[in-house]
Amino acid sequence: MKKTVFLGALTVAGLAAGAASAQTLNDVQDRGTLNCGVTTGLVGFAAPDANGEWDGFDVAVCRAVAAAVLQDPTAVEFVPTTGKTRFTALSSGEIDMLARNTTWTFTRDNDLNFEFVGINYYDGQGFMVPKALGVSSATELAGATVCIQTGTTTELNLADYFRRNNMEYTPVPIETNAEAQQQYLAGACDVYTTDASGLAATRAAFENPGDHVVLPEIISKEPLGPLVRHGDNEWGDIVRWTLNALIAAEEYGITSTNLDEMAQNGGPEVKRILGTEGNLGEMIGLDAEWARRAIGAGGNYGELFARHIGESTPIGLSRGLNAQWTDGGLLYAPPFR
């Protein structure tokens, strides 16, 4: 009897969630704010500043979507989530979208019933070593002691990589990035390995960042992107094409400062993006100027990258894989037509 009640409650909850998710756009517009899931704090990607305003590379995606949908980039209710609570927050309907440097994997997409709408950062596992070690390539790391966070995919990637290259290593298991920083600086391990963006942020916090190098080898694929619930394709399209608009804007040279000029004098595709020609906005249930506001919220992809994690910031990430396809990177927005 108990079991039936339990299952019944689950079904009702599931049905209600399903019914609600088919109209996320309406919900968001009625509510007047976008509930966007972010991390509880990750250097460069999402963190509140001294005034409590959220800022960062992932946060910018939320703001762009809010600008497109609600005409106001500040109409975002940021819901901080941890690695353990992020997926339940999304599937229970507590948040409308999740922009929390989440790796796009098969199981997350299919088994957990989410919809990854794109990739806003191509990450991968890398290695950091002290310069004094005199190592210039990860293939020279045979016999090294490696600081590694336990229970993560990085641990498995590392084992695979060293086995493939017939090298031995001694793992030093650690729990958090903060602990890793201390252990690595104290010399408990020769190498620290985690995602390349994390390595860069960690290195930026060192007293002498110049004494450490991030090796060129990237040994895993970590495509990070925003995701929404499965089953509401209209909403998924809005988030997907907002991200695409940011990427395409950089490709076509639309920045937050030349929006008006480009809307008048740009090429046909630029005009279609900015809504002076065609009716793309109408097709996804928004007004004509949706992408214009999204780009105006913080700038195009390149501007966001440069402001939050780029080479002029303390984190100092180079574009690498995250350059436009025209510059040899992987960013490739489908055509707006």
Binding site: G41, L42, A47, P48, P80, A178, Q182, E207, P314
Partner: protein
Amino acid sequence: MADMHAHSVRFVRETMLPQAEPPTTERGIVKWMRENLFSTIPNGILTLAALWCIWWLISSVLPWFANGIWDAPSIRACREILEGQVGGCFAVLTERWNQLLFGFQYPSELYWRPSLAFLLLFIAIAPVLFRKRFPAQMLVFTAIYPFLAYWLTWGGSILVPVFAALGFVAGYMVYSRLVAQSFAMGFFGGILAALVFWWVIGIVPTEGIIALEPVASRNLGGFMLNLILGTVCVSLSIPFGIALALGRQSDMPAIKWICIIFIEFVRGVPLITLLFVANVVLAYFLPPGTNFDLILRVIIMITMFASAYIAEVIRGGLAALPKGQYEAGDSLGLDYAQSMRLIILPQALKISIPGIVNVAVGLFKDTTLVSIISMFDLVGMIRGPILASTEWNGVYWELLGFAALLFFVVCFGISKYSQWLEQELSTDRR
């Protein structure tokens, strides 16, 4: 007399010797050191080792404090100012102190409200903690305080806490009317009356009537959140714990088994699991859009957890009482409630004080666990937003040291109070 003995006695002291100082080894600091620090060779070695340790600690920590930078925009600026010297970057505390204390979302112009609630807390608990030193009339304020503190912290219309308080008053009035017939009738009648009152009064629109600017629960954070969770959960879990402990000893099988199952279940589950249930699992069962306040969920879970532990501590106190005490109550013709209230519990609780304080201190520190379910308490603020900001990524000692200091002050205070209370209450075994 002197003449008589003049040749039989060789020497007679005629004047008193002036008082001499004791030998240097037998007086003052030297004697004290010989007795206490260097009485034996092993002790001497230990003393020297301890001195060396203290010197080493001071010499390494002192420059860190003395060179500390209190005004800088980021950790890199700190390092530039220090130019390689040892020194703490306390600028993070001067810039982010408000976030550490109140969380990063609490409106800064409203900081006075939780601060005032915190100050009033001392006035409210003073008559409870020091019963003989303060007039009993102050207990009226203690009764009002929870509602006042809620109003100050969360804001909104004053009618909400007033109605909540009136519900309790209504419940109590029904209880006192019915308790003469039977305790159970009074108890459940009281609860029913309060619920009915809240249900009826819920229709009245409260918006905007003598309202403070409302602050949502998710905007609460920092040490304020730890204090709220700590004080609310400790003060709720003591009465629940007493009820559970008495229930476990009850002769009525239903009550006894409910209490046993509750206590054993909750004690068998880690607090972190209960917190995850509060945060994650409940979200699946509630219809989407219902916003069952997260802080309320967490308070319920922590209170459940703490009351199970306190129940066991108090059961220990009850078990330690000689059977004669129970029989004395019966032989005086007191009923169950009277004998518990007048004879058993005062003694049992007195025995249980160290245990209860132990649970309270542990619980207060456990409130930092809420950082794992993405609430920004003091530790959550440090681990999340502050260490993740580009400016302060890498400042660990200063921030965690500050957190440790705040927790130490509170926990040490609780522990000192409990020692004082034990002395105050010790009427036997002097």
